[in-house]
Each structure stands twice: as structure tokens, then as C-alpha cells.
């Protein structure tokens, strides 16, 4: 049923695809981190118009399918004179799509910073930029890392969609091989297995980071605990 010799013969092509998948994942995630932060800062800004725009944008992106967003940018952008290749289009769309979810993670992290920190920062005479850079974000970002890791895995799982706009990721490579040989079983099975292995490894890594971070945080919290707070 499953021809291992055949699978072996196209494995190099699939691994090349896996490289593209990883590039798309990391690139898309970098874009998502920036887009998410930008959206969240806009939502917290003083301008009502900007807040509305950010919220509307987030709703729109989250209520429409990534596949259609990809088609829109891939087929319409060139007509507006924006010539970007398929992989870059994919990275931008992935980043913009996941960024709308990442904004929510930043929101939770920023909400968790105690109000006293804002007051203390302002009392020290910090301007808004210095306040965000030196006080708020350094405290808001570390707790956000584990949920961000989950979105990284989520983004990774969306990358096969890029095959629909001609990117040769793992899935695109499988499509090509299947189209060339009319044999579907081996290419798609290998693609599924490769993607599953990477995704399980990444999930395992995120769980480890999560556990280490909670240990780290409780470890740091201990010395600062006030008198009489320990077990009697």
C-alpha cells in the first residue's frame, strides 16, 4: 500500500519544502508580534479614531478566512502596482492574520501590570515612550510568552494554506509531487507526518518553557513575600 522507496525518492524535495515552511512560520510570527503590538498600542492610545480603527480591523481580520485574505493580497496587490513574490505575500498575510489574535495576548499581559507601576513610572517623570519601554513592556511581555508560543504553533499549522498561492512549502511540494506522479498516498502522508512531528516537538518545547517560567516567577516571588506570609 505505502511505497517506502517512492517516499524516499522525493524526501529531499519535501525537506526543502519544510525549510520554506519554517521560514514562513518564523517570518510570519515576527510580523505578527509587531502587528499585534502596534494594534494593542493603538487600542490603548488617546485617539478615539485610532482605537476604533484598531478594533474594527481586529474584528474584520478575525471574521474572515486566511485563505481569502491570501487570495485578495496575492491577486489584487499586483494590480495596484505592488509586486511581491508569493512567499513574502504569505509571510505578510500570516503575520497580519495572527497579529489580530496576538494583540489579545498583549492586552492580557499589559492588563496584568499592577496600576502602581504606571503611577510610579509617571511619578518618576517618565514620558510615554520611556514608560512603555522601561516599565510596562518589560513586565507585560514575559508572562505573555507561553500563550505567544501557542500562537506560534497555530501559525505553523496555517502555513500549508500558502500552497494555494503557489508557495512551495511542505504541502506545496506534496501537491507538486502528487500532480506529477498521480500518486497521492505517499506525498500527502509524508507531508502530514512531517508537519505533525514538528508541531508536536514545538508543543512540547512550549510546555517546557511554560513550566520553567512559572517556576521562575514563583521562585522570584518568594523573597519579596512580606513577613508573616509563610506557613505558620
Amino acid at each position: 500500500m505505502f511505497d517506502f522507496a517512492f517516499a524516499w525518492s522525493f524526501l529531499p524535495e519535501m525537506l526543502k519544502g519544510l525549510r520554506i515552511t519554517v521560514i514562513a512560520t518564523l517570518g510570519g510570527f515576527a510580523v505578527a508580534l509587531l502587528v499585534g503590538l502596534g494594534l494593542e498600542l493603538m487600542r490603548r492610545g488617546r485617539s478615539k479614531a485610532l482605537r476604533r480603527i484598531a478594533q474594527g480591523w481586529i474584528s474584520f481580520i478575525r471574521c474572515t478566512p486566511l485563505l481569502v485574505q491570501l487570495y485578495f493580497v496575492f491577486y489584487v496587490a499586483p494590480k495596484w502596482g505592488l509586486r511581491i513574490d508569493a512567499l513574502t505575500t504569505g509571510i505578510l498575510c500570516l503575520g497580519i492574520h495572527i497579529g489580530a489574535y496576538v494583540a489579545e495576548v498583549y492586552r492580557a499581559g499589559i492588563d496584568a501590570v499592577p496600576p502602581g507601576q504606571w503611577d510610579a513610572g509617571r511619578a518618576l517623570g517618565l514620558g510615554p515612550v520611556a514608560l512603555w519601554r522601561a516599565v510596562i513592556l518589560p513586565q507585560a511581555l514575559p508572562p505573555a510568552i507561553p500563550p505567544l508560543g501557542n500562537y506560534l504553533i497555530g501559525l505553523f499549522k496555517e502555513t500549508p494554506l500558502l500552497a494555494a498561492i503557489t508557495v512551495l512549502d511542505v504541502f506545496g511540494a506534496a501537491n507538486n509531487i502528487a500532480g506529477r506522479t498521480f500518486r497521492y498516498n505517499e506525498p500527502y502522508t509524508v507531508a502530514a507526518v512531517l508537519l505533525l512531528v514538528v508541531s508536536l516537538l514545538a508543543a512540547w518545547a512550549v510546555r517546557r518553557i511554560e513550566r520553567r517560567m512559572t517556576l521562575h516567577r514563583t521562585g522570584r516571588a518568594l523573597p519579596s513575600a512580606g513577613p508573616g506570609s509563610g506557613p505558620v
Binding site: 500500500m1 478566512p65 491577486y75 489584487v76 504541502f171 502530514a192 508536536l200
Partner: protein, 218 residues
């Protein structure tokens, strides 16, 4: 005049696609809903092999892309002698995928109903079935509802994937219209707007259910 009438004449065919999208979403949601409960219960089953099988099920379906699973069912099952019509393939593939996420929602929601509730039910002399039907599930459902709503939005968007296995839902209709009319911008903008029009009211309902669930828990 031409520019104004343009997008409107594209609409009827896209709306036909949107109808298929809604049908697909609804049918898959029903399947995924019942599967979610079945999988969640199987995960707490007294038999070890069933528990392990469920964990594998959830990890495999959550660990790989829905698109890959769809292609797997569409292209590979026929090679093993099982060929389903495309529409059924789509419903089964998306239903299995969504149930892996749904079962975790059910599991989490059931876990929020405390042991004290179960003890109280037993003290009242309720049978196991009565306890589940009148005590545990009603409370768990309030907690699970917003998450199920979010999953329904994800499902609605995920139905766009089945355009790649030749089902003429909204995204596929969009691709056809682009081929026949060549008006990329208008077609894709309309498709996006139609998806938004279907998903956005749902997201407002979810926000409301979330607020209610938060009040219920307090």
C-alpha cells in the same frame, strides 16, 4: 453607472456559494458537537486503551493542519478503497478536526463543576444519569458556550478550505467569478465582506455569552 452596477451583478452567484458555506458550517457543527462530547467522555473512560486512543486522536487532529487532513481524506482514503462524495468528505474532515478542539472545551467545562456539586447530587440520592443531566451538564454548558461560539466562527472560516477539493462554496464561487469576469478586486472584496457578514454577528453573540458566563461564575 457601470462601476456602480458592477459589484452588484457579481452578488447572486456569490450568495449561492455563501448558502453552501452556511449549510456546510451547520452540518459540520452538529457532527462536531456530538463528537466533542463522545471524545470528552471517552477520555475519562474506565478503559486505559480507550483513554490512550482518545489522547492520540486529539493530539493528531490538533497537531496537524485542517487542510492536510482534508486532503488526506479526499485523496488517500480512495486509495484504500473508501471513497466518499466530496461534500461528505468535507463534513467528516472538518467535523473530526473541530471535535478534537471541542472535546477539550467540554473536558475543561466539566472540570469547572466542582466535587462539592457531585457530592451534593449524591446526597440528594440522584442517579449517575440524573447527576449528569440535571447538575453537571447544565453548569458545564454555560461555561462551554462562549468557547463553542468561537469554535463555530473558526469552523465557518475553515469551510473556505473545502474550495480546494472542488466544493462550490463561497471561496470557490469567488475563484470561478474571477476566472469568468477577471475582476479580482471586486470579487475578493465581496467574498471577504460576505464572510464578515456571516461571522461578525456570531462574534457579537459570543461576546455577550462570555459576559453572561463571567457573571454566572461569580
Amino acid at each position: 453607472m457601470e462601476a456602480l452596477l458592477g459589484p452588484l451583478e457579481l452578488l447572486p452567484q456569490l450568495l449561492r456559494g455563501a448558502r453552501i458555506t452556511l449549510q456546510l458550517t451547520l452540518l459540520t457543527a452538529v457532527l462536531a458537537f456530538f463528537l466533542s462530547f463522545a471524545v470528552a467522555f471517552a477520555r475519562n473512560a474506565p478503559w486505559k486503551w480507550l483513554r490512550y486512543a482518545t489522547v492520540a486522536y486529539v493530539e493528531i487532529f490538533r497537531g496537524t493542519s485542517a487542510l492536510v487532513q482534508l486532503f488526506f481524506l479526499f485523496f488517500i482514503l480512495p486509495a484504500y478503497g473508501l471513497s466518499l462524495p466530496p461534500m461528505l468528505t468535507a463534513i467528516v474532515a472538518l467535523g473530526l478536526n473541530m471535535s478534537a478542539y471541542g472535546s477539550e472545551i467540554v473536558r475543561g467545562a466539566i472540570a469547572t463543576v466542582g466535587q462539592d456539586q457531585r457530592d451534593a447530587a449524591r446526597a440528594l440520592g440522584l442517579t449517575r444519569v440524573q447527576t449528569w443531566r440535571t447538575v453537571i451538564l447544565p453548569q458545564a454548558m454555560v461555561v462551554a458556550l462562549p468557547s463553542f461560539g468561537n469554535l463555530l466562527i473558526e469552523l465557518l472560516k475553515a469551510t473556505s478550505l473545502v474550495s480546494l477539493i472542488t466544493i462550490t462554496e463561497l471561496t470557490f464561487a469567488g475563484r470561478q467569478m474571477v476566472v469568468t469576469t477577471g475582476r479580482d478586486f471586486e470579487v475578493w472584496a465581496l467574498v471577504l465582506v460576505l464572510y464578515f457578514a456571516m461571522a461578525w454577528p456570531l462574534s457579537l453573540l459570543v461576546a455577550r455569552a462570555e459576559a453572561r458566563a463571567a457573571r454566572f461564575r461569580r
